[in-house]
């Protein structure tokens, strides 16, 4: 098996005036589970389709294990795709669907039979080889699509939102199965999704895309803990974004910022000065009785109290006018902060991050505009 090392160099695709993919550079080493994450229209699917060969790039190069694939038609590329709609051939049964690629490669029939059975066993569908795709559930069809692509032992497997059409429970289950499968077969997976949780759960590394370019490439943990841009911070989970002013460094090299009339210290991130955004994850916000003294504490008022089962979500309006979301674990104790209670909001310096205010459109705004 080849390495499955994918490299995109200044890859671009325009549809008329619209630049769907705006010169991206990416290196995906062999055997990695790599996700392209972004809201719809960000260029992630176009990127995948260019790697598959369904779209001709308008600029840049695609290298696979160092060899240029840019001008190669899809049927000669050693990559296979799992389509969002599965695209199982409705006139063929499961066996013939999975055998389709092997037969095109002129593999003799005994070998075809052996490898199809092997692939079907891999996705636990051994009993189903005589069924038509239409006689199977969505989850089963999805597995057939996987088997059909994996049976060819591609260097790279491309997955275009393969779990998008399934219900939440099945999706969770298949996420784990997909990850296990990928580790088992050791093939490079390039996975396109708009679901941040899916990307975080499965990927070795994630690229977050927005408007045709890449915002950040990082491991899930790094992406979540240390977002490089406001867009990333906002896109990955709920983050409290507050407009602040940078005042310089304190003696420990941490960033001093001014939020309304309060001076705070942010232990994460670096900015030069001037306008900035301060951000903190909801689960890192601490709530204390009103009037508790100390650094990085701002008084506020609980606006809403939402019971989520394993945790309680509190929306607190700070005295600065900003709204902060706090997530408190449900440990069984009474949480005394009902709506209307004045509280002291503690934003621990080690959890508070500053990000340069690039004026980027945020994920939420983007999503809202798409709904229109």
């Amino acid at each position: 098996m080849s390495g499955g090392d994918v490299e995109l160099i200044d890859l671009a695709k325009s549809f008329g005036r619209m630049r769907a993919v705006d010169g991206i550079n990416l290196h995906i080493p062999g055997g990695e589970f790599f996700s392209l994450l972004g809201s719809s229209g960000c260029g992630k699917t176009t990127t995948l389709r260019m790697i598959a060969g369904f779209e001709q790039p308008t600029g840049g190069m695609i290298l696979l294990d160092g060899a240029d694939m840019t001008g190669m038609p899809p049927h000669r590329r050693p990559v296979n795709t799992v389509f969002q709609s599965y695209a199982l051939f409705p006139h063929l049964n499961v066996f013939d669907n999975v055998a389709f690629g092997l037969r095109r490669a002129k593999i003799e029939s005994g070998e075809v039979k052996r490898r199809v059975n092997e692939a079907l066993a891999l996705v636990q569908l051994t009993e189903f080889e005589r069924r038509r795709p239409s006689q199977m559930s969505g989850g089963q069809q999805q597995r057939v699509a996987l088997a059909r692509a994996l049976v060819l032992k591609p260097a790279v497997l491309l997955l275009d939102e393969p779990l998008g059409a399934l219900d939440a429970r099945l999706r969770k289950q298949l996420q784990l199965e997909l990850k296990t499968l990928q580790q088992q077969v050791g093939i490079t997976f390039v996975y396109v999704t708009h679901d941040q949780e899916e990307a975080l759960t499965m990927s070795d590394r994630i690229a977050i895309m927005s408007e045709g370019h890449i915002e950040q490439v990082a491991s899930p943990q790094e992406m979540y803990e240390a977002p490089a841009t406001i867009f990333v911070a906002d896109f990955l989970g709920v983050s409290n974004l507050m407009t602040a002013k940078a005042l310089g460094k304190d003696e420990k090299g941490r960033c001093r910022i001014r939020l309304g009339q309060f001076d705070l210290v942010a232990g994460q991130g670096e900015v030069k000065g001037g306008d900035t955004k301060a951000t903190i994850r909801p689960e890192r916000v601490r709530l204390e009785p009103h009037g508790t003294p100390g650094q990085n504490r701002i008084p506020g008022m609980v606006e809403r109290w939402v019971y989520l089962g394993n945790s309680v979500q509190l929306i607190v309006r700070l005295e600065t006018g900003d709204t902060v979301q706090a997530l408190l674990q449900n440990s069984g104790d009474e949480i005394p902060y009902r709506a209307g209670t004045p509280v002291q909001v503690h934003l621990p310096p080690e959890a508070l991050r500053v990000l340069a205010d690039t004026g980027a459109r945020l994920a939420l705004e983007t999503a809202e505009q798409e709904d229109l």
């Binding site: 598959a52 060969g53 369904f54 038609p73 899809p74 049927h75 000669r76 990559v79 296979n80 795709t81 389509f83 709609s85 695209a87 199982l88 051939f89 409705p90 006139h91 389709f100 690629g101 095109r104 490669a105 038509r132 795709p133 239409s134 006689q135 059909r148 692509a149 060819l152």
Partner: protein
Amino acid sequence: MTRHTEPGATVISPRRLIQQNAVRKLSTWIANPWGRPRFLALITWAYILVSIAPVIVAIQFSFNDGRSVTSWQGFNLTRWYWGDPDHSVWHNPALQHTLLQSLKLAGLDILIATPLGVLLALGLARWRGFAANASNFIMLFPLVTPELVMGLALSLVFLHVFTFIEPSTTAQVLGHVTFSLSYVVIIVRGRLFSIGRQYEEAAADLGATPAQALRLVVLPLLLPAILASMMMVFAISIDDFVISQWLSCGASCDTVPIRIYSATRTSSFPSINALAAIMVFLTLSAFGAAYLVQRLMTRGERKSRRGMAKGMFDL
């Protein structure tokens, strides 16, 4: 429903009450918003009866046990089909010839128009740009042009442009192909759009060359539409009068419709009705076969994705 007798209201006699109930029952039977749409059904059946009556009468007289096509002289199943040694469809050489001519035209039409139409549909579905749009529009011309104009135009073309083609069976076949090609294109293209490009892309992804993708994936998926359009071409061709007439070479080019038309102006036997009945039967079975094929071959798709099976019956 219980009736409340309000104080001061006129008491209705029991007989009136029964009458009123009967009227109400009838009106709710016809028009009950929660029940079955019987009013619609009544109108539909009335329409079907009215429109089908002439056909039934015509077919009925093909079983007449006499030489009249207007007065009923008893039932004879076979006389005008093959029983009569001189005037039945089977034994009259002229009638037999017209039937064969009609079937020959329809058969050749299917053989030529279907493959051409499928290729044209494939091309037009893939081709983008101004020329493609124009071609798509021009495809509709034979459908919207009055057949008489179409026939006249064709005969002028053969008279002045393609002078090497005399009015003949060849000219008739070419005329039929010109006319029926649009139907093939429209049916096949509809199916192409509904199946989309995803299967072709999947085939290419799995290593199929464009030719293999066409042969192994696209054509099998198009098969119901192709068969449906073959039946459609057959039905159109066998039914055609105007174009066959314009390009006719005389008696030996007569098709069934032409024969029936000329027979009605001279005295005729019920064998003409028998010929017409055979036509109706052939056309109906072509449509029936097309429908069955379509149903059978898209069975799997309808189960999984309702409304995706597209073809001639939901154009």
